[in-house]
């Protein structure tokens, strides 16, 4: 929302669920969709006498995130208790981190809609356990509690208030979403709550450098809602201030049906969480050897891959970005290049030809019916002039439909091999020219566009198999004005 008088200031807190098998402090499963409370063990229920033991995989995931964002890694991080009362938090406290988070300051390059890069500061990222789930419907005067989610490892990623619009917020959140999936620490499934966003929103008179009072919009679980909720909240705050009111610091919820934000609870009273170090957990030590072992498990980072794609493979910046945004796509592209040695063709075909077919069929690239080896085969035949671009698309369609195992097999079986024999093409050219004396007159009279008519006729006569380059050459030679 742009407004001449007011500037929007946004900071995001993203909760990314770590893709571990078990919980952060217990050996219960975190698999989604299980029977209520069938994955809530004594530790998760906060029964007396239990002790939390920290999951190594959660630590590795957090360190990887720190490495990927160039952030400081906390060599000694400390778990603290955040105390509050709610039935889906049976211990009466959430184990989180306050003063010594596992990941410190970092920086994210956010690619915006217009392609511009904006740097957004990361304040910190810390590990914590998720709470359970309260179900308020279906029970008269009671709430049902499912603690399967309690103890699920979360990485809370906190940004600096560097974001200035809802669109920037979405671009930043998408970037983090792509990154956590890329380094394989979070599945990013927003419907299942694996990636949730809280937005801290305030406004201030343009030109001011003090922050206004902020509200926090909780649990936004889609990028569309994130954008809507921020815009609606900014409008509400502007209206409030312009009418002489004031914004109160509070937690709000976005209601997509009513398209409004609503006050949830007043933070002024509720925010005394009385953090203190959890006596059940010792400080977590991370040394160089541990960091190195995490680094070794990391894939090549998007930033470095981008540089390699543009420098070594000579791709354009924007197509390289389209490829690296998603790791599976980038991997597929690289496998296609390996099979074809044709990086430019591979980029174009992965993004456009295969990309369009996948989108139409609503498939991810992992489910592509045509694998990289097969696509590489098509591009090899395209590059060595065995087939034209148009025929190549037909071959791709045939592979997609499972009509053959390889491009060569399909080209052979369907007789799609391009006619490169000059004599054969010349015969067709002569035939077409002889049958179209009027058009020949027109062309000789200076109407250049008629050349397209001849090419069309010739391609038709050759069933698309004549080499287009040779056809053009021959036509020009024969129609010399």
């Amino acid at each position: 929302m742009s407004n001449a008088a007011w500037e929007t200031v946004i900071g995001l807190e993203i909760h990314a669920q770590m893709a571990t098998k078990s919980k952060i402090f217990s050996g219960a499963s975190i698999a989604f969709g299980a029977e209520p409370n069938s994955q809530a063990c004594a530790v998760d229920l906060g029964l007396p006498g239990v002790l939390p033991v920290f999951n190594q995989a959660a630590l590795v995931s957090a360190v990887k995130f720190g490495l990927a964002t160039g952030a400081e890694i906390g060599r000694k991080s400390v778990f603290a208790r955040k105390n509050y009362f709610y039935p889906d938090l049976p211990k009466g406290y959430q184990i989180s981190q306050l003063d010594h988070p596992i990941v410190g300051r970092g920086m994210i390059d956010v690619v915006q809609e217009d392609g511009e890069i904006k740097q957004v500061g990361l304040t910190r990222a810390h590990l914590e356990e998720d709470a359970g789930k309260s179900l308020h419907e279906n029970f008269v005067g009671q709430s049902g509690i499912d603690l399967n989610r309690a103890g699920t490892p979360l990485l809370e990623i906190v940004s600096e208030p560097d974001i200035r619009s809802a669109k920037e917020a979405v671009a930043y959140a998408r970037q983090i979403h792509a990154l956590v999936r890329y380094i394989d620490i979070c599945d990013g499934n927003m419907q299942e709550g694996s990636f949730r966003v809280d937005a801290n929103v305030s406004i201030r008179p343009r030109g001011s450098d003090t922050l206004g009072t902020r509200t926090e919009i909780k649990n936004l679980n889609s990028f569309r809602f994130l954008e809507r909720a921020i815009n609606i909240e900014v409008e509400r705050q502007i209206d409030l201030l312009e009418d002489g009111g004031r914004v109160s610091q509070e937690t709000r919820l976005y209601d997509p049906d009513a398209d409004e934000t609503r006050s949830m609870r007043s933070k002024e009273e509720a925010n005394d969480y009385r953090y203190f170090p959890d006596p059940d957990l010792l400080p977590v030590h991370v040394d160089d050897a541990f960091i190195d072992s995490c680094r070794e498990q990391m894939p090549e980072l998007p930033k470095l891959r981008l540089a390699r794609f543009t420098d070594e493979l000579a791709l354009g910046e924007s197509e390289a970005r389209q490829l690296i945004n998603d790791r599976a796509t980038a991997d597929f592209f690289e496998a296609t290049v390996a099979a074809s040695k044709q990086p430019r063709h591979a980029a174009n075909w992965v993004i456009n030809e295969l990309g369009a077919r996948l989108q139409k069929a609503d498939l991810g690239i992992e489910q592509s019916p045509v694998d990289a080896e097969q696509l590489g085969g098509v591009l090899q035949r395209l590059a060595d002039d065995t087939i034209s671009g148009k025929i190549a698309k037909q071959v791709l369609d045939a592979l997609w439909a499972g009509e053959g195992k390889s491009a060569d097999e399909i080209i052979e079986a369907k007789g799609l091999k391009q006619i490169t024999d000059t004599g054969a093409i010349e015969a067709i050219v002569d035939e077409v020219l002889a049958a179209s004396p009027e058009q020949v007159e027109e062309y000789l009279g200076g109407k250049d566009k008629v050349i397209g008519f001849f090419v069309g006729k010739i391609m038709q006569a050759s069933k698309g198999k004549a080499n287009p380059g040779q056809v053009n050459q021959l036509l020009k030679a024969k129609l010399k004005r």
Binding site: G27, N37, P87, H136, S143, I145, L282, P283
Partner: protein, 95 residues
């Protein structure tokens, strides 16, 4: 440090502890005494020391990421005051 009655009431609310009106002055004075001990300790010069997060000077052991817990829902829910369809039931917490 003196603790006033309002602090006691606020603390009791945060901790969800019922405190009877009559007990408040006594609790206030007891809390004050605890804080006096804390003040004495705070007077010790610790500027040159790195704070410890835990009295044991040791590092947190790590657990391998394996699912080791079986589903014991039936046993846990047998001692719960109220359950339905696998859920623990509690008094409604929102209006």
């Amino acid at each position: 440090m003196a603790v006033d009655n309002k602090t006691v009431i606020d603390m009791a609310h945060l901790a969800r502890i019922a405190v009877s009106e009559d007990d408040i002055p006594k609790i206030a004075s007891q809390m004050g005494k605890v804080l006096e001990i804390a003040e004495k300790m705070a007077a010790v010069d610790t500027d040159h020391l790195e704070p410890m997060a835990h009295p044991l000077d040791a590092a947190q052991p790590l657990r391998v990421d394996d699912v080791t817990e079986a589903d014991l829902r039936e046993a846990f829910q047998a001692v719960a005051p109220s359950v339905d369809k696998g859920l623990y039931l509690v008094p409604k917490v929102i209006e």
